[in-house]
């Protein structure tokens, strides 16, 4: 049933319908509305889960990890500083191959303190072994949770997953969201069937010491699982489309790319603005399109390359930066498109909540056409 609801509540609904047994979180803006709603659902008996209030994000994700090891489906949510504090546990969960699912309400990192949106938080954990999905609107933020659980828990994957959606821009925005019924969700997402779990009758140990003779193979197995996840994501995305009418079988979304000369590349809620700008430019005869990277980990090299095969240039909107190098998306794109002759412009933009409007998208297309080098887009020169 379609309802008008806040993005955070749309995510809480998806979590309720995914029936986790354990939820643990620590409040942090702009994630709070998700976990407050879940606390309420548990207290009201709408969701049969243990809601564990803890004293920090480190404890929140640790509690989830412990619970997951016993074989239950778990959920957490955080952002920014909270995710930074979870850094150690994130690597542990992935290394132990526990399929945790966590929402990231994307927000900038301190210092200086900012509660506004960019992608620096989740991007900083791109190497942790978690799948990373980026939602462009509240409906996607809802849907991607079911897909995240399915793929993470698939025995050929067994890696944790982050569903990232933009803080405030989506968490606090009301949109129409189609909420499926419990039976429909159950049919798509059956109960968690752990591959292995803590069981006193058949003791196993997670996270033990690996000597140099074994460590690399563990990491390589994670890489293989990540590569397999691409296929599983596509299958699950397709099945989701068949059941719910919203297709996620592509790891990337192509918008008006068929005959485009210039492709913009973006992730998250920014894609909506970019699509509007593209429609306007198309109306003026400009051949532009968008590649929306819905999946950042595993990085969909083949799909990106295929989708961009016809373009002359790409302009990337990177809402993060690896200080001393470039934006994370820009780096991946340079790797993917190496040798194709496609020109690349990487724009670091929208950090710490700075708005990116349609006119900025137009300007960036202009910069790409003029063949300029990578930039921090839209700096206020007067304060530098």
């Amino acid at each position: 049933m379609t309802q008008i609801m806040e993005g955070s509540h749309a995510v809480a609904e998806a979590v309720r319908l995914s029936k986790p047994g354990v939820i643990s979180a620590y409040p942090i803006t702009p994630q709070t509305h998700i976990v407050e709603r879940l606390a309420e659902m548990v207290a009201d008996g709408l969701l049969e889960a243990d809601y564990i209030t803890v004293e920090s994000e480190f404890s929140a994700l640790s509690a989830c990890l412990g619970a997951s090891a016993t074989g239950v489906r778990v959920y957490s949510a955080t952002t920014s500083q909270g995710l930074a504090l979870m850094f150690e546990v994130c690597f542990n969960a992935a290394g132990m191959r526990l399929p945790l699912v966590m929402t990231i309400a994307n927000r900038a990192l301190s210092a200086p303190l900012s509660i506004w949106n960019d992608h620096q938080d989740s991007i900083s954990l791109r190497d942790s072994g978690w799948l990373q999905l980026y939602a462009q609107d509240c409906q996607e933020a809802h849907d991607l949770h079911y897909i995240a659980y399915r793929v993470a828990e698939d025995h050929s994957v067994l890696l944790p997953a982050m569903v990232c959606f933009d803080g405030f821009v989506l968490t606090h925005t009301y949109e129409p969201v189609d909420i499926p019924g419990q039976e429909e969700v159950d049919a798509f997402l059956p109960a968690f069937s752990p591959y292995q779990r803590l069981d006193a009758r058949d003791p196993i140990s997670f996270g033990m010491y690996a000597t140099p003779d074994y460590y690399m193979e563990f990491r390589y197995e994670m890489e293989r699982a990540m590569q397999r996840a691409k296929g599983v994501l596509k299958e699950c995305g397709k099945e989701f489309g068949e059941r719910f009418g919203r297709d996620y079988s592509d790891l990337v979304e192509s918008y008006r790319l068929e005959d485009a000369d210039t492709a913009l590349v973006a992730m998250g809620s920014l894609c909506g603005t970019v699509k509007d700008a593209i429609d306007e430019m198309r109306g003026e005869g400009k051949k532009v399109g968008l590649l929306n990277l819905r999946v950042f980990r595993p990085f969909p090299f083949e799909d990106v390359k295929k989708a961009l095969s016809g373009v002359s240039r790409v302009a990337i909107l990177d809402k993060n930066v690896s200080i001393g190098s470039k934006g994370a998306v820009g780096l991946e794109m340079r790797d993917t498109l190496y040798g194709t002759g496609i020109e690349i412009l990487d724009c670091i933009a929208g950090l710490g909540g700075r708005d990116i409007r349609k006119r900025d998208v137009r300007r960036i297309v202009g910069l790409a056409e003029a063949g300029g080098g990578d930039i921090f887009y839209g700096l206020r020169e007067e304060v530098l």
């Binding site: 409040p27 803006t29 976990v35 606390a39 207290a43 004293e55």
Partner: protein
């Protein structure tokens, strides 16, 4: 005592809600600091994250606004590198006792020469009123919609047990006593902990039908019980009412100190 020059007047009005108790805590603290005769460059303020942790942003001295819960760890570095500085922290119950709990007990154990002023408003104010480690049993918050079931911390007892040299607890109703307590804390070598049970009409008040600051003040006035009286009752085998706010000086002692100049 006039401490207007200690305020970053250009930063006012503050972000604090109408009726919030944090302003009173800042005023009492600055009153104590100026009564020490210190100049502004003798003092550094530190804080973590939270409404209470915004306090140094309004004070015209050097300050470090650090990460949630860990101002004490940063402060340890400041004090040991520059023992000449008088180091004062503003913190909240969430900042200090939840995410920063470990840093808190170790700072007390080491008895580092700092003064910690904790605004205990029973709630995570800044993030919208979620339950904290000091939310009383039965009190409502946005994460305990039908009342908290967990046993809260007594922060002053915790500081004492962990080894702080000076510990006292007051409320914004007791401005004179609070100012004197901060001053005593500043004078006592070692870790001084001043806990201020404070009203948060927005976060705690909204969830617990306590939006009116006068009501809060009435509670602070009526339910506060001096430590001496609570001790006497206990000695006589009589119960201390469970909702009493025990106030007063809990300890002033001279365990070995870390970070003292000279």
């Amino acid at each position: 005592m006039n401490f207007l020059e200690w305020y970053r007047v250009d930063r006012l009005p503050s972000i604090f809600c109408a009726g919030c108790g944090i302003g009173t805590v800042i005023n009492c603290t600055l009153s104590a600091v100026t009564s020490m005769g210190w100049r502004r460059n003798d003092v550094v303020f530190l804080s973590g994250i939270g409404c209470s942790s915004r306090a140094p942003g309004y004070i015209r001295t050097d300050s470090l606004h650090t990460t949630h819960g860990r101002a004490l760890a940063f402060a340890t570095g400041v004090k040991l590198a520059e023992p000449r500085l008088n180091v004062i922290l503003f913190t909240g119950d969430g900042d200090l006792a939840a995410i920063g709990g470990n840093h808190f007990i170790h700072a007390c154990r080491r008895n580092i020469d700092l003064t910690v002023v904790c605004v205990n408003n029973y709630i995570y104010g800044m993030t919208g009123g979620q339950g904290s480690p000091t939310t009383p049993v039965g009190a409502r918050s946005s994460t305990t919609p039908y009342g908290s079931t967990e046993t809260p911390f007594d922060l002053s007892e915790l500081a004492m047990a962990a080894g702080a040299n000076y510990v006292s607890r007051w409320t914004p109703y007791h401005t004179k006593e609070l100012t004197a307590a901060v001053k005593a804390g500043l004078e006592t070598p070692g870790l001084s902990f001043i806990e201020v049970m404070t009203q948060c009409p927005t976060g705690y008040g909204r969830a617990n039908r306590l939006r009116d600051v006068k009501e809060f003040m009435e509670i602070f006035r009526m339910r506060s019980m001096l430590k001496q009286k609570a001790d006497r009752l206990l000695k006589e085998g009589k119960p201390v009412p469970p909702d009493a706010i025990v106030i007063g000086e809990f300890v002033r002692r001279s365990r070995p100190v870390m970070g003292r100049r000279g």
